[in-house]
Symmetry: C2
Subunit: 140 residues, 2 copies
């Protein structure tokens, strides 16, 4: 989760939405990503999507775990279910409840660490950039 | 749907998976895309995702319709639900049942035209490239 937080901070430093994600297989990180919606003018480039892209076509995901600083939305949870990622660990879900129930319905383990550092980074961003955040989660 | 089929044929001609999509607002096509998983070594670049990317950050999707040659998977249906696209028109769902129920559960109208030209293009591809297709839909 530290690496996901580093990704989120990288996104924030570049003028973007501070959400980061990493994909782990065993003890190895095989993908990194952060939300680049602003930076690349791309509405689908959420942190988890960026992370899956950067991991490349790895084939099977049955032995992977996705870490994200925030509970995934339907787009990213859809990718998790499609690829068969069995476990998602998130930094928090207080700023965004996301698609937790959808993940659980599809047998994905969803662990919420409820970390203050994740919550505070996101809360600060949402408070200062409400319109951008609402665009990111389709609430326009 | 003709434009989505043209996109699918473009993907096939480039060595990719023949699925195409367009996003329409009123009478105007505002996004085009096709599956580029093979061409860009990117597991998330499904036709609908490519289409949403190419349309850019359009803001509200409430007056848009997504056309795809094939019923969307969970990843692409997740994007539809996230963005609030109210209607999806697909060329067929016989080769892939996709996430139709998920779309309906979230109030998205899903119209299946069951067009032979869509079905045949996809069936031909699946018959000749089973492993690639299974990778695309996370069935490895």
């Amino acid at each position: 989760m530290k690496e996901a937080l580093f990704e989120a901070a990288s996104g924030l430093a570049g003028g973007g939405i501070p959400i980061g994600a990493v994909l782990v297989r065993g003890s190895e990180v095989i993908g990194w990503g952060y939300n680049r919606q602003v930076q690349q003018n791309d509405p689908v480039l959420h942190a988890e999507i960026d992370c899956f892209r950067n991991a490349g076509r790895i084939g099977r995901y049955a032995d992977t775990v996705l870490y994200s600083t925030l509970m995934p939305c339907y787009l990213c949870a859809g990718a998790v279910v499609l690829f068969g990622v069995p476990k998602v660990v998130v930094g928090e879900s207080r700023n965004f409840a996301g698609a937790r129930d959808f993940l659980l319905e599809h047998g994905v383990e969803a662990i919420d660490l409820d970390l203050p550092e994740c919550h505070e980074m996101m809360a600060g961003f949402v408070a200062g950039h409400g319109a951008l955040w609402n665009e990111d989660i389709g609430e326009l």
